[in-house]
Subunit: 191 residues, 2 copies
């Protein structure tokens, strides 16, 4: 785990997600772990912090989430774009260990069982609030954020500070297929 | 309505939202219209296209959405950052006509009653799929996209093309308070 990683207070955890970055979702259960790409993830509520994630039925990660009631959201930067595409294209049903297959190093969560992906710049550990109708009808999961960390090179004092770091550390926004946007310039109201 | 606005086929409508831009939500009912800012909006499903939107209880727009079962998502560009902040800070309970108060020109929707905001670069017209528990417990609305349009200066053939237009036409990603990021550079896998 990089020395630049620090805990993000739960009151600031949603700042990691507010601008709409794409995520890697990791989960674990019964000795198996997996990771997939998910762009449809966003905050739901501040206190306690909650998130929404659309997790397609039939994915291996979905099964791990349903069994464990937990998942982690990892925020990959531009430098990891190829890995995002790779884990998003392969299924844990066919690749027994996607972490190993795609050379993804991991480190432990603080509060949940899922592994966190090294090289990402933010991490949210989440416990599912079961809403069976949403899960069944819409592949939609609601979860409470129970721990968060970020890479202080780009997130400090509760805010992203991409301007002071290499562009390779900016977060990604998914467009379609292998196309993303990097998070761009800061824009302030009245400026 | 600007001459550069064209219909986006429903099969491509979610491309407008996939990268996580902030939105202006407009709604109308019984002769009253209103507009508010909402950052917590994302796609939910492709076929038919559906979206999720978190619309806080007590907002005037929420009442209009509940009464009409409809809302529009307008995607403001960098050039409209001050207007986004203004409509996000004032309430329709106190300002009878936010469009007039903040000099926002509008044009009609195709399929719903809400007005669309000129100067935005994408518009999705949505009909609510009533899920009362989500609305009550989580301020969460599910809706089907029934029509979409975009400004062809920045969205053509089903994809954003910000590189060829002024930076003022890039979409916004909300951080907190009056801080946003502009949508940044294109990033392609394998490049």
């Amino acid at each position: 785990m990089a020395e630049t990683i620090e805990v993000v207070p739960l009151g600031k955890a949603l700042r990691l997600l507010n601008h709409g970055p794409t995520t890697l979702v990791s989960a674990a259960h019964g000795g198996r772990g997996n990771v997939m790409a998910a762009a449809w993830v966003m905050p739901l509520d501040f206190e306690p912090p909650k998130v929404l994630a659309v997790i397609a039925g039939g994915t291996f990660t979905r099964g791990l989430i349903e069994a464990s009631g937990e998942f982690a959201l990892n925020l990959p930067p531009v430098a990891m774009r190829d890995a995002v595409m790779a884990v998003g294209s392969a299924s844990g049903h066919e690749v027994p260990d996607k972490f190993a297959r795609f050379d993804l190093r991991t480190f432990p969560s603080e509060k949940i069982g899922a592994l966190l992906v090294e090289g990402c710049v933010g991490w949210l550990e989440c416990r599912v609030i079961r809403e069976e109708r949403n899960e069944r009808e819409y592949d939609l999961f609601i979860a409470e954020v129970v721990a968060a960390r970020a890479d202080t090179r780009v997130f400090r004092d509760g805010r992203w500070c991409f301007e002071e770091a290499p562009d390779e550390l900016r977060t990604l926004h998914h467009v379609a297929g292998g196309n993303f946007f990097a998070t761009g310039k800061s824009v302030r109201v009245g400026a």
